[in-house]
Amino acid sequence: MRRRAGLATIVLVAAGLIASAAPSSRLALPASPLSEQERVLHVLNRLGYGPRPTDVARVREMGVAVYLEQQLDPSRPPSAALNAALAGYDVLSASTAQLVRDYPQPTAELRQRVAQGDMTRRELRELIPAGRRPAAITGQLQAAAVTRAVVSEAQLEEALAAFWFNHFNVYSQKGAVRWMVPAYEREAIRPHVLGNFRDLVLATARHPAMLFYLDNWMSTRADPVMPRGRNSPASARPRPAGRSRGLNENYARELMELHTLGVDGGYTQQDVTEVARAFTGWTIDRPREGGSFLFRPGVHDQGSKRVLGQMIPAGGGERDGERVIDILVRHPSTARFISTKLARHFVMDDPPVALVDRMAATFRSSDGDIRAVMTTLVTSPEFWSREAYRAKIKTPFEVVVSAVRALDGRLETGRGRAAGRAAGGGAAELAREVGRLGQPLYEAQPPTGYPDRAESWVNTGALLGRMNFALALAHNRFRDAPVDLGAVIGSVDRAQPSQVLDRVLAVVLQGAATPQTRAVLTAQLESPEITRTTGDDRVASDTDVEELAALVLGSPEFQRR
């Protein structure tokens, strides 16, 4: 892994040698039809969660190339502000075993009492405080995700963490997965977001969260050792329901379809079966108690396997799964599939073939170095093209986080969390709003994760939700996520509506408002509700900044990044 990181540095240095125009930077950026202001906005919106009020000036001053270099190499420790903001979330650092102890599932006995009517659900809930129920784990994670995206300076790292989690999605509400998700994100996803793709696949493949979510922990050789079924000899020990007794294809199929090759990547049903055989025995040691990865030789299929035409000899044991991953990550389909998904997320819904080709070439030549692939992306003419500028529709998560950043909103702990309630505080309020807008974090049920195309997020109900969110945020309806619109308009005179409008547009849209939007909002200023007039002389006395800010946050322009 170190070696691969070194390779990326060499690529960067080589790029820098050619870039004589920017001596302070080693990244060579192509010519772009975008203005300097647009280029700054593009990196802040596209590689992160949009600008905070001071970000545009800051990035302009340091230069876009230097900013990109920093974003591609976020090795500096997290800021004190981020550490402080995350301090209250104990699930972020706790082991799965610790979480099982701290956030216990109601015991079988208690659940039975509820089922039999001896105890009401309310009584059960009162027995375990809200902040210590299993659902609080997901609540904390959701709030932490919002916090990181709002506060972290390593914006690209955050965007990639969300991207890779979604790519290797697990569903927190499936069985024991809930207790495993904090460790999954911390150990399998985050260390590798700009690292090597093989490491990422292997880390997810071995993680209990993935083993449980896609059922591989239960998959065994087709002819299990123990006698089984209804015809078992009476002397055989009774086996608990759901215990491993044969092959399960679920992980094998999604590993190829969704994690590596892509659905048209050239594999067959026979390949699915062979890959499933290779992963037999990759299981979890005591999954309900927070156990870790375990290889059980006794249930592993020891025979030879043939995957995508390549032979895996018999007797490979635990190594079989790693051999499969080696075959898959080096397959040309994987380079294309991963490059396409990255380009779709960071460039446009239907990325240009030429760009995907170059990214895939980098993927192969660097042996899956994600930083190198991302470098190809951000130094491409396609990324800097007019067609790519503001071409992506924000997801609900991106809308909420970028709105809070635009207004420099604060995330306060709130009385709720201080009192030990489940996931209180402003970040939790906003995370619930993300869920209401259709993207509950860590709760995408299918292994595909959430979609990454405009048509999945733009519909009538969703737009209404976004407008209502804009109104709620601007009117300080999120109690512990307050925005200070007084600070936004600064010294501008509230009695001068057009100046207030200019200021709000400058802060929230940073010059990206279309002439039509400006005209519509100017017309709105004549409404007596927006421009509050005095009774006698009908002179503007005050401007409804909250309403104006809400309109701008709910405008078509703000839905794009």
Binding site: D215, L258, L463, L471
Partner: protein
């Protein structure tokens, strides 16, 4: 009342009147006029996402190979306690679907078994995509078959609620040029005015509407405009005030909520023609259960929901047809974890309208090894397009051609039609 197009009507005087809440009856009358016109039929499409096990849902208890292939997850014979609910001596409903049996007895429920896609993918994502685009094997199709069908029969007075999907996202099947509405909750389908937030006026709704009124007609602006048409109409019709009738009790949860709200839209006469809802949790790779257990719980929610919907609408069900679907079925053999893996053919239901019920349609391909698809799955003997086309053409009255490009088979099963 003079005739005018919906858009000019909405844009004209009624806009302000509705916004002020003084002229809702005018709007309602228009909607009523639409729903009483020739096209008063409603199609309700229910998608079981995740591939429902058709062999447990509609049990071929008369096929001896069924019990040979399935060990712990088989549904018992009708003669057994808690066994399948017999329909015709060969097929039976899963016992959790017992509330649907009266519909069968009244010949208002039909089923099609061994139904599915000509494409053999076992990817949930691809198979759902194909079932919604209506073009198996072709991924580039931009729109869905229901949207194409509706778009081919436009009317000047088509309601903004012609096509509604319950849920946060517009499903693939309704994407296209019909302006389908996606909503989670009828009561939330409005701009929360500043009046309720901070004591202001009605500026937010007007402001947002103006912002989306201008600009090119792309996805974002076009959707914005449709949003405000829909908000105004819904405000006037107030379907959320309509309570379930005839003692109908919907199951708790998103699926029951979706069906309850579809019934409200139908009874409020907002001009609904197509409604869509989905339900997940069918991907039973492990611990599927038999008469009881994981799948039984899902089926109970599903069956209770459809039965409540039917009861709620009462006589209105003569104009309402429910079609259920799932992207594929599951392996005939039980897997190593008392579950089933991705398969091929599955079962679909048709309820209400002019359904020729009391019959399981389609040729039964059998379950012995040599009869299975690729030696493991229930074969497909009815192309889903054949069933969907019959429903759309005979119930809704859409033209057949745009529904399924390239599919020429017009030999309908005869599931729908006046007896």
């Amino acid at each position: 009342m003079h005739r005018c197009t919906r858009r000019s009507f909405v844009k004209g005087g009624a806009l302000a009147l509705v916004a002020l809440g003084v002229a809702p009856r005018f709007v309602v009358r228009t909607a009523l006029a639409q729903s009483r016109a020739a096209r008063s039929k409603v199609l309700v499409v229910l998608f079981q996402r995740g591939a429902v096990d058709g062999l447990s849902m509609l049990v071929p208890h008369g096929d001896p190979d069924y019990y040979a292939a399935r060990g712990s997850i088989a549904i018992g014979r009708p003669s057994a306690a808690e066994g399948a609910v017999d329909l015709d001596g060969f097929f039976g409903l899963h016992p959790a679907l017992a509330p649907l049996k009266p519909l069968w007895d009244e010949r208002r429920l039909a089923a099609v078994h061994a139904c599915g896609s000509p494409d053999t993918t076992r990817s949930h994502f691809d198979a759902q995509d194909y079932m919604e685009s209506g073009t198996p094997g072709v991924k580039s199709t931009p729109d869905g078959w229901l949207a194409r069908g509706l778009a081919a029969m436009p009317g000047p007075d088509a309601s903004p609620f012609r096509a509604v999907a319950l849920g946060p996202a517009l499903p693939r099947v309704l994407r296209g040029d019909v302006g389908a509405v996606a909503m989670t909750n009828l009561a939330d389908f409005d701009v929360r005015e500043a009046a309720a937030l901070a004591g202001g006026g009605l500026t937010a709704s007007r402001g947002f509407e103006s912002l989306y009124e201008q600009g090119v007609r792309d996805l974002l602006y076009g959707t914005g405009r449709e949003t405000f048409d829909a908000v105004k109409m819904l405000k006037a019709a107030a379907p959320q005030r309509i309570q379930p009738a005839n003692g109908a009790a919907y199951p708790r949860g998103r699926f029951g909520d979706s069906l309850r709200q579809i019934a409200q839209l139908i009874r409020a006469d907002v001009g609904l023609e197509v409604a869509f809802a989905d339900m997940s949790g069918w991907d039973t790779h492990a611990a599927q259960g038999n008469e009881r257990g994981q799948l039984a719980l899902r089926l109970k929610e599903f069956g209770d929901g459809v039965a409540a919907f039917d009861r709620d609408l009462g006589d209105r069900m003569r104009d309402v047809l429910v079609l259920t679907m799932s992207e594929f079925g599951r392996t005939v053999r039980e897997n190593g974890n008392r579950g089933t893996d991705h398969g091929h053919g599955t079962a679909m239901f048709v309820v209400g309208g002019d359904t020729r019920g009391g019959k399981v349609y389609g040729r039964w391909p059998g379950l012995s090894r040599e009869q299975l698809h690729e030696g493991r799955d229930l074969a497909v003997t009815t192309d889903f397009r054949s069933l969907f086309a019959e429903v759309a053409v005979r119930h809704l009255g859409t033209p057949a051609d745009p529904l399924f490009p390239g599919f020429k088979n017009r030999d309908y099963l005869g599931v729908v039609g006046r007896v």
